[in-house]
């Protein structure tokens, strides 16, 4: 029995130490040295404060900012920890809505958001990413169409010419990788930071 158990025990302990400790710890060391900013989470600092991560969506609700996609993330209900309450862009509890294609709740939510957006910018087709939640609830991007769709509202709120904001959006469009992979997109946090700089000038 012991002769059969010894290989199992020794290999399990040794391989666990190699793959479960040595490997992640060595990778942490090397990554922190070669790619310090990325390894720490691509954080963005302004005036000495961390304002977020380039990769993590955050909530924007003001009329003068570009809005990200709706987020379905939740947080524990402070009054009853067994329940959850909506907490958009909660970067400590990622997740999607998980509503299916025939869900009445989904249809209702999308309809409500659509009506609000159509009132804001009448006559323009509403880009689909502005009324659908992402898989992570932390999507940092919107489509270029979704950014352009919001330009009239922002121009009104900030009293800036639409052309300048549109130019800002164009400058922030990231195309497909190698012209092939993924989809064109605009990082909302980066765009809003640039918008803030533009407004200050």
């Amino acid at each position: 029995m012991l002769t059969e158990l010894r290989p199992a025990l020794v290999l399990l302990v040794a391989l666990t130490a190699i793959t479960g400790l040595a490997y992640p710890l060595a990778m942490t060391g090397i990554a922190g040295w070669v790619f310090p900013a990325e390894a720490a989470g691509s954080l963005i600092e302004r005036d000495g404060r961390i304002v977020g991560s380039r990769l993590i969506g955050q909530s924007f609700t003001g009329a003068g900012d570009f809005h990200g996609r709706p987020s379905a993330t939740t947080a524990p209900d402070p009054s009853d920890s067994a329940k959850t309450v909506p907490a958009p862009d909660n970067a400590a509890n990622s997740g999607g809505s998980n509503l299916g294609p025939t869900s009445a709740a989904l249809a209702e939510r999308v309809k409500g958001d659509l009506d609000a957006l159509r009132a804001e910018n009448p006559g323009q087709p509403v880009p689909v990413d502005l009324v659908t939640t992402s898989g992570s609830g932390l999507d940092p991007d919107i489509s270029p169409e979704a950014a352009l769709f919001q330009v009239p509202r922002i121009a009104r709120a900030r009293n800036l010419p639409e052309d300048r904001i549109r130019a800002l959006v164009s400058a922030h469009i990231e195309g497909r990788t190698l012209g092939l992979l993924g989809e064109p997109r605009v990082n909302v946090l980066a765009l809003n930071l640039a918008l803030g700089d533009l407004a200050r000038k």
Binding site: I18, L43, G96, A104, D139
Partner: protein, 571 residues
């Protein structure tokens, strides 16, 4: 569907195919015990491990000894993982102060990782400490993947050897796979991921003050090292709750492309290892061709359905496909492709929420898993699952012409066919049996988040995913309950070991047989006729079993959605 979409799919297929031969050649050398380019570095480590463990690398095991070694190893690994999860609040590297994992969730998670399922009833960033993620989950990701490959090798040796009593040494296969294949690839892969933006830090969660002045707690951690092995080892368990949809697990279109390729890379290359070891690479390509046909059919349906979008939402005048639960940087095609790949292999990582897929878009992932994940499949598991189907296909072909069937010079007899059927039948028993149970018990019906046929699909998907050791989910199901934690864990254990043990028994009995020379009446197994036959048997034997259940879920939902019908919960 767009031209760019199909180009992305074609590029993916081309890269995977280009990797088959080099990776297959390298792995063949590793598992034949030959010297490789890494031997000067890893040879001393390998020999040191054998010495400490008292292993004679030349001593091989019978199929039974191999199986017992594997089971003993897993039992110990299970206990250690369970202990780490239960004690994580007492152990170091817990900056977020996570509490001990509850007993039923710890049981489920331990079963899930030991069986290469990685079902996520745990919430990642909201449940587990860094130590539990690294020492607990990451190491099981390596070992369950290495075990899958080891078992495929045992079965390959069954075909390639004649009149032999042994099928290899489990200890040697496990060690060499971990050291020479998984670890070096993961080291390079981790650094690539970090360069793309995946965090790799032991620092605490970051507190940011957003531009609007709100506080945002951003979960970070040693993410990249785990993501690398979860993809390469087709494990799929996320560091974060949202898995590969989370921008920190999968930040760019390029990281996404590499992740999809890495899910298929080793599994596809194993068909080449098989071909090389049985002395005819065409045999491996024939199996890969059968996998490829089923794969492309699945991609076409899912991509088409997701690009067309949900009829209900399209009714509001929306265009651009179904983007609910998908990320902008991936869009429709990369999300649909990921979903088909992750369920064709037994990976289970997701870059979009399958629960929000259109009815037909979500149907394909379910079928992929119900067929036993033999389309490339989990590392190792896909190949031995496919070889089990090959035996049945050969048997059916033999019945048609009235000859004793043979494959690669081995006569396929009653024992092999019985074992193959046992392995094939345990999956529907677990998937459909537990689904039926859950739909009549209150504890089961409490799970689904969606009403109507989609709620049924959520339950069916869960047990399908568990028994197939996939781990992806229709995530709306509240699976972290006593009922689901235990039934799903049971389904995973049966789905893993009741396929493995018959597969090993087949390996043992094949290895012992003499090789008979091919004659004029032998069915060639490297041509189009055989590939077509194999695909047919897979669809008929594997697929028809599930048709009634699928009709109740996705098919009904598709028809209801097309008619504009929606379903409200609690109504």
């Amino acid at each position: 569907m767009t031209l760019n979409g199909w180009i992305q799919i074609a590029l993916f297929c081309a890269v995977v195919l280009a990797l088959v031969k080099p990776l297959g050649g390298y792995m063949t050398r590793v598992f034949s015990g030959d010297r490789t380019i890494l031997s000067p570095v890893l040879g001393p480590v390998e020999r040191g491990l054998y010495r400490a463990a008292g292993i004679d690398a030349r001593h091989e095991q019978s199929w039974l000894g191999y199986g017992l070694a594997m089971l003993g190893f897993h039992a110990l690994g299970f206990l250690i993982l369970y202990a780490i999860l239960r004690l994580q609040d007492w152990l170091p590297l817990n900056p977020a102060g996570q509490a001990a994992v509850a007993p039923d969730l710890a049981f489920n998670t331990a079963a899930s990782f030991v069986t290469n399922t990685n079902w996520q009833n745990y919430g990642g960033e909201s449940t587990l400490s860094y130590l539990a993620q690294m020492l607990g989950l990451t190491h099981q990701n390596f070992l369950s993947a290495a075990t899958g490959i080891a078992l495929a090798l045992a079965l390959i040796r069954g075909f390639s050897r004649a009149s032999a009593r042994t099928v290899g040494s489990f200890w040697v296969d496990l060690t060499r796979c971990t050291l020479y294949v998984l670890l070096p690839l993961c080291i390079v892969y981790t650094l690539f991921l970090v360069a793309q933006g995946v965090p790799q830090t032991l620092g605490p969660y970051v507190d940011a003050t957003t531009l609007e002045g709100a506080r945002q707690t951003i979960a970070v951690g040693p993410v990249a090292s785990q993501v690398a092995i979860k993809m390469l080892g087709t494990n799929g368990g996320g560091f974060f709750n949202a898995n590969a949809a989370h921008p920190f697990e999968n930040p760019t279109a390029l990281s996404n492309f590499v992740q999809i390729v890495s899910i298929f890379a080793l599994g596809a290359a194993l068909t080449n290892v098989f071909g090389r070891m049985v002395g005819d690479e065409r045999q491996g390509w024939a199996i890969l061709a059968a996998m490829g046909i089923l794969f492309l059919a699945g991609v076409a349906v899912t991509y088409g359905s997701e690009a067309a979008g949900s009829p209900v939402l399209n009714g509001f005048g929306l265009a651009g496909g179904n983007l609910e639960g998908k990320e902008v940087r991936f869009g429709i095609v990369a999300s649909a492709l990921f979903a088909v790949v992750t369920t064709a292999a037994s990976c289970g990582a997701v870059n979009a929420m399958h629960d929000s897929f259109t009815a037909l878009g979500g149907l394909i992932p379910m079928i992929n898993m119900q067929l036993g994940e033999i389309i490339v499949g989990g590392v190792g598991a896909g190949l031995y699952g496919m070889l089990v189907f090959v035996i049945v296909a050969i048997f059916v072909a033999g019945l048609m012409v009235g000859r004793t069937p043979e494959y690669l010079g081995k006569k396929i007899e009653a024992r092999e066919v019985k074992m193959a059927m046992l392995a094939i039948l345990c999956l529907p028993l677990m998937m459909l049996g537990f689904t039926a149970l859950a739909t009549i018990l209150a504890a089961g019906l409490a799970g689904p988040a969606n009403a109507g046929p989609h709620g049924f699909s959520e339950i069916l998907y869960a047990f399908t995913s568990a028994a197939a050791n996939n781990g992806s989910a229709f995530g709306g199901l509240s699976g972290n309950t006593l009922f689901y934690n235990t039934t799903l864990a049971f389904g995973m254990l049966v789905g893993r070991f009741f396929v493995i043990i018959p597969a090993l028994a087949i390996a043992g009995s094949l290895a012992a047989k003499r090789t008979v020379p091919a004659s004029a009446g032998t069915l060639p197994t490297h041509g189009g006729l055989f590939v077509g036959m194999l695909v047919g048997v897979i669809l008929i034997v594997g697929g028809l079993t599930f048709f009634p259940a699928l009709a109740l879920g996705p098919v009904v939902e598709h028809l209801a959605g097309a008619a504009g019908q929606t379903f409200a919960t609690g109504g």
